[in-house]
């Protein structure tokens, strides 16, 4: 595989390896070492078993020899009782040869027993050492695994590992998008302010509405003016005339048919 998948995987792994040296996994080394110790212990135990078997065989031989020896002794005693000294001598000399064998075997037995004890002790010590190593190994492995997990968490937070790399990127993308939206909102505001862009929100007024507002505003002014004039006319007609006169009306007062204000007819 040489495509994108593999290349990306390799790059991420290379980055992860910088933080976590996986050239040699100490857990594997410890397990291997423990395995080797168990094999050694097994060899020692086998040795102890072999020595014990030999010891047992010697003991059997010794029992047999001692049995033969006592038989020869009995035979010698009987021969003497029957007055056969020659026969008794023969029996006793055979017994003496057997005794020599017994002595030799006993020496061998003692040596083997000593060996066996030593080996048993060694096996026990080794067993204790292997047990202690196993405990230590498990502790080291657990510590290493914890450290590895910590490193992974560290990696994750720093964005080295692929586990969080994508999350970091997702945040980055979200931030980019937000910034993009903010920039776009800013640009739209500017364009609206400059008038280059129409506001479709309905808040801004178009020119027709502005004209209508202007006209209606003007009407209000006119109506207000009429109302005020009517008030004044109702209060005193002289006042009304004075105002009208003041406004530059050149018509003589006699030509006015009545003092009714013109605007009331409208």
């Amino acid at each position: 595989m040489s495509g994108v998948m593999k290349r990306m995987g390799m790059i991420f792994r290379a980055k992860a390896n910088k933080a976590l040296d996986r050239a040699e996994d100490p857990r594997e080394t410890l397990d291997y070492s423990y395995q080797k110790q168990l094999e050694l212990l097994q060899k020692v135990r086998r040795g102890v078993a072999d020595v014990a078997t030999s010891r047992k065989r010697l003991e059997l031989q010794l029992t047999q020899l001692q049995k033969q020896s006592s038989t020869l002794e009995d035979q010698g005693r009987k021969a003497l009782a029957l007055g056969r000294e020659d026969l008794a001598r023969e029996a006793l000399s055979r017994r003496a040869a057997l005794q020599q064998q017994v002595t030799d075997l006993e020496t061998q037995h003692q040596t083997l027993q000593g060996e066996e004890e030593k080996l048993t002790l060694a096996a026990q010590r080794l067993q204790a050492k292997v047990d202690a190593f196993r405990t230590k190994k498990e502790t080291i492995k657990a510590t290493y695994t914890a450290a590895q997990a910590q490193t992974r968490i560290g990696e994750a937070f720093s964005g080295i590992s692929e586990e969080m790399g994508d999350v970091g990127m997702a945040i980055q993308r979200a931030e980019d998008k937000t910034a993009q939206l903010q920039a776009r909102a800013g640009a739209i505001d500017e364009l609206l302010a400059s008038g280059a862009l129409d506001d479709s929100s309905g808040l801004a007024k178009d020119d027709i509405q502005t004209e209508l507002d202007r006209l209606s505003g003007g009407t209000d002014v006119e109506l207000e003016l009429q109302r005020m004039k009517a008030e004044l006319a109702g209060g005193s007609s002289g006042g009304q005339q004075a105002i009208e006169g003041g406004q530059g009306q050149s018509q003589p007062r006699s030509q006015q048919p009545q003092d009714t204000p013109r605007f009331d007819k409208q």
Binding site: M1, S2, G3, V4, M5, K6, R7, M8, G9, I11, F12, R13, K15, A16, K18, A19, A149, R152, S158, G159, I160, E162, E163, G165, D166, V167, G168, M169, A170, R173
Partner: protein, 92 residues
């Protein structure tokens, strides 16, 4: 083998599926190198769909390293190209 789709999560895939996926993956690499953005997008989506279809999603709390990594569905050609350079998008 465990494959990560960036931004989505991890899926477990049987090795027997890789021949099929390799074809798309190589195609994707060719398109990325030739700068064929529409082709790249099409193949990336096809590849991701295939991985999702054939794979079994891993739980979110699984801490399994990914053997293979795929860009997120919305990754652009230039983003992926950047990721494959020495420094990439992720520092370290």
């Amino acid at each position: 083998m465990i494959v990560r789709i960036m931004g989505e999560g991890q899926v477990k895939l049987a090795d027997s599926h890789f021949a099929e996926l390799n074809k798309l993956d190589d195609e994707l690499l060719d398109e990325m190198e030739s700068g064929d953005e529409p082709g790249f997008r099409r193949t990336l989506h096809a590849l991701l769909d295939k991985v999702r279809e054939l794979g079994t999603p891993l739980p979110d709390d699984a801490l399994e390293p990914s053997q293979l990594i795929l860009p997120s569905p919305d990754a652009t050609l230039s983003e992926v190209r950047d990721m494959l350079t020495d420094d990439g998008l992720i520092p370290g």
